[in-house]
């Protein structure tokens, strides 16, 4: 168990908790992106470059973007009832 691996696991645990504790949804979208980057770094260390690629493209870019888009439309949307 190398120090680098331990460090990455702790980093992921921390950023994951950050996603939960960021109660303000906009800040949470950012936290999700940060968590995505941390996860892909961990995956690189775990010798899984394929997975790291898709985590960086999906977890750190696409998913936070979808979150932001939904938050914007929740704000602009005026419910009829």
């Amino acid at each position: 168990m190398t120090a680098l691996l331990v460090l990455m696991f702790v980093l992921v645990a921390g950023t994951g908790a950050g996603v939960v504790l960021a109660r303000e949804p906009r800040r949470q979208a950012l936290a999700i992106a940060v968590n995505g980057v941390a996860l892909s770094l961990l995956f690189v260390v775990l010798r899984a470059p394929d997975v790291a690629y898709s985590e960086i493209a999906v977890g750190a870019a696409l998913v936070p973007l979808m979150f932001l888009a939904v938050l914007v439309s929740l704000k602009t949307d005026r419910p009829k009832q």
């Binding site: 168990m1 691996l5 331990v6 696991f9 702790v10 992921v12 645990a13 994951g16 908790a17 996603v19 939960v20 504790l21 960021a22 109660r23 949804p25 949470q28 979208a29 936290a31 999700i32 968590n35 996860l39 961990l42 995956f43 775990l46 010798r47 899984a48 470059p49 394929d50 997975v51 898709s54 985590e55 999906v58 977890g59 696409l62 998913v63 979808m66 979150f67 939904v70 938050l71 439309s73 929740l74 949307d77 419910p79 009829k80 009832q81």
Partner: protein, 114 residues
Amino acid sequence: MSFVPWATVAWLFAVGIYGVITSRHYVHLIGCLTVIQSATYITLLSVGYRFGSVAPIFHSRPPSTPAVDPVLQALVLTDIVVGATVTALLLALTLQVHKKRGTVNPERLRPMRQ
């Protein structure tokens, strides 16, 4: 030290569940679900890891080099698709329910109790 990956997984599961049961905003709740999901990625990849091995890609090295498990990496790729699609579906549901009910607080979104 060998327990660190499993402790991380247990921690992410626990903290994600904590977020889900206390959430007051559905978008936040969905974010917490992605945290639990990331725990499953870590479990799978940790099981497939092996000390002193290379990634299972033999483009620039001989195929006899000891490598980590490629099967679990393929499984995690599938898992990531699952996660992204379910997240998209949940976000779309949230958006629509907000149009109908005017709130995204999970406590106030109870089917057939309005």
